[in-house]
């Protein structure tokens, strides 16, 4: 049967049962829309949120620290009683098989204040500062200054600030004081002064124990180990040397050890412990978070699939009733010369048209809802570093997938019962 002839029959058959046709399209549309939205949310969980979690808690990275003596809720790591983390230990660990990189984290061993203005708010605050190698934070650097050491006295010190600072400002101070919220672009390039040796909590230090450093923010990080202000390690080494002498220049707080693959994890952890140090692994945290996110995504998809299954059962039942009514019509078509495949094309074609129309309407509506909701939430919610860049997946490929699902699902739902009918002798169908 040619396409023009199929269209001739389809148009008349669909028009004849207008109410039932529209009801069927509506039912498919609702089911597909629900599935589309559930899948859109699941996809964002699996991509955006999981990526953020894996970036914050990289499974292949372990934090190496000095052993702490825990007294209830408090932990102490007195230098006399615990192994120190030195450059030699860092080199030793870097030489282990399967180790990709070892980055030291050097604490600023003096009180420090940050003073400046931010969105109209003038203030000072005590800060914690660390020095790390440039390569460790290369991905977080955005500003033109870069994250490199310069011994020029006029060149500001590049620093990276924790995103959680920005979150705390936006969700706390800005909300409370009615200040404008900060985006990444508003923070990058800002200057402030770091006053080494000074603190709001102690008495004023002598002038030779205080030093003012001009800083420029060149990046933001969501690494939970870098909660304070992070500067190139060369600067912190120099400041420690100035404040406390050579010994403090290379006394690392912790090492960030990254492996090439997880198969080397246990061996590396054993070596770390044999050196009298402890491993603060992110593997377990990462696994639990991944499990939770994947589990949530699976539940969403299962819900969507359940709705689709209910719709499919509905379509099958409805079509079974329609087939009962149309036995005579099928018998007549076959009696006047329609082949089995031709009759199948007509009947399954009707179902496919309904399925495709319903899926297009439903998925199109869901797609529109996803786009609108993303825009609205982006405007309405305050900027928050852990929030995904979008809340619902709005790619066209999901729309196309759902449309195809409606088409194929309708065909599969109806083809078996249509085939059963067209295989019968026309006289038997006419007699019923």
């Amino acid at each position: 049967m040619k396409l023009g002839q199929v269209i001739f029959f389809l148009r008349r058959n669909l028009k004849r049962r207008r109410g039932r046709t529209l009801a069927a399209i509506g039912a498919v549309a609702v089911a597909i829309a629900v599935f589309h939205l559930a899948a859109a949310l699941a996809l964002v969980l699996r991509s955006d949120v999981l990526n953020k979690v894996e970036r914050i808690f990289p499974e292949r990275t372990m934090i190496v620290r000095a052993r702490a003596i825990e007294l209830g809720p408090l932990a102490f790591a007195p230098a006399l009683l615990t192994a120190r983390i030195t450059p030699e230990i860092a080199q030793r660990l870097a030489a282990l098989p399967g180790v990709e990189s070892v980055w030291p984290q050097l604490p600023l061993n003096m009180p420090a204040l940050a003073t400046g203005s931010l969105a109209g708010y003038e203030g000072s605050t005590d800060i914690v500062a660390y020095g790390v190698p440039r390569e460790m934070v290369a991905a977080d650097v955005i500003g033109k200054r870069g994250f490199t050491y310069s011994d020029s006295p006029t060149s500001p010190m590049p620093v990276i600030v924790s995103r959680f600072f920005v979150d705390m400002f936006n969700l706390g101070l800005a909300e409370g004081q009615g200040l404008p919220k900060l985006t990444d672009q508003a923070v990058i390039g800002r200057h402030f002064q770091m006053v080494l040796g000074a603190s709001l909590l102690t008495v004023e230090a002598p002038a030779d124990r205080v030093r003012k450093i001009e800083c420029e923010i060149v990046g933001l990080t969501d690494n939970p180990s870098l909660l304070g202000v992070t500067a190139p390690i060369e600067y912190v080494r120099e400041f420690n040397r100035w404040y406390q002498g050579e010994k403090a220049a290379e006394n690392y707080a912790q090492l960030h050890l990254t492996l090439r693959s997880m198969e080397h994890y246990d061996a590396a952890a054993k070596t770390v412990e044999s050196l009298g140090l402890q491993v603060v692994g992110q593997r377990e945290t990462a696994r639990r978070l991944r499990l939770a996110i994947n589990g949530a995504a699976l539940v969403l998809l299962a819900f969507g699939a359940a709705i689709l299954a209910l719709a499919a059962i509905n379509i099958i039942n409805t079509f079974a009733l329609i087939m009962l009514e149309r036995r005579g019509e099928i018998g007549l078509l076959r009696a006047v010369g329609a082949t089995r495949l031709g009759a199948m094309a007509l009947l399954v074609g009707e179902s496919v048209v309904l399925g495709l129309a319903g899926a297009t309407v439903g998925s199109g509506a869901a797609w529109g809802i996803a786009i609108a909701l993303n825009r609205a939430l982006a405007r309405w919610l305050p900027p928050f570093s852990l929030a995904p860049s979008r809340w619902l997946d709005e790619r066209a490929s999901l729309f196309l997938f759902c449309a195809a699902l409606g088409l194929i699902g309708s065909a599969l739902a109806t083809a078996p019962m249509v085939w059963k009918a067209v295989r019968r002798w026309p006289a038997d169908l006419l007699r019923e």
Partner: protein, 241 residues
């Protein structure tokens, strides 16, 4: 597929037997060895009481029901050895079927009902429409082309069904009680219409009927009694031969 008519024999029914599956008393045999030959151009009427198997015989000859045993040869071809495509081609091009209950699609107009076999034969829509209009004109219903079956009388619906059966100019027309649901006058008109086609086109007609007016038109008459055919008037090869 081309149907060759060997020795002018269009239809040969060879020892056809058929039964319907019974629930408690076993199968119910309605045809107990029917043999029949219909030559090209003949008008054969089959008489018999209701339930004797007339419709069943016509359905088997029309290839829309398979017999339990026996063969049906159309132009020398064994009908039930054909694949689905070939059998469908036969039903569409060689055969026209007129049913007692008309079986018109209620959602299609009279014209569209007649177009169905033409469309199934592969004609594009505009050509099928043209042919269907011609066929309706020949049965005197061109003015009712856009009417739906629900708006037509019994006689008009049967005329539409005849137009549908003949739109592809078949060689063989099977008519199953075509006047069964009509009054005497209308039935007579339908019978006259079929007879006129038979004369004008050399159409071969095999008709199951109770209508006595068929005597005026049929070239031969058979009686289906006890599952067997018995000769009536006219030259016919019976099971006895």
């Amino acid at each position: 597929m081309r149907w060759g008519f060997l020795d002018n024999k269009l239809v040969q029914v060879v020892d056809v037997q058929h039964a319907y599956a019974g629930e408690s008393a076993g199968d119910s045999w309605v045809l107990c060895g029917i043999s029949l030959t219909v030559h090209q151009g003949e008008f054969v009427a089959i008489h018999g009481r209701s339930g004797t198997g007339k419709s069943t015989l016509l359905h088997i000859v029309g290839g829309i029901l398979a017999p339990r045993r026996g063969r049906v040869l159309i132009g020398g071809q064994d009908l039930f050895q054909l694949g689905d495509r070939a059998l469908s081609h036969f039903r569409n091009r060689t055969l026209g079927f007129v049913f007692q209950n008309y079986y018109l699609a209620p959602s299609l107009t009279a014209l569209e009902n007649v177009m169905v076999p033409a469309l199934l034969s592969g004609e594009p829509v505009h050509r099928a429409r043209h042919r269907a209009m011609d066929a309706l004109d020949q049965v005197g219903l061109a003015a009712k082309a856009k009417a739906r079956p629900g708006d037509l009388s019994g006689g008009q619906m049967q005329r539409v069904a005849i137009a549908r059966a003949l739109v592809n100019h078949p060689a063989l027309l099977l008519a199953d009680e075509p006047t069964g649901n009509l009054d005497e006058q209308t039935g007579g008109e339908i019978m006259d219409l079929l007879a006129s086609y038979q004369r004008a086109r050399g159409l071969t007609i095999l008709m199951a009927t109770h209508d006595p007016s068929v005597e005026l038109h049929a070239t031969s008459q058979l009686y289906l009694i006890g599952g067997k055919l018995q000769a009536g008037t006219g030259a016919v090869e019976s099971a006895a031969n």
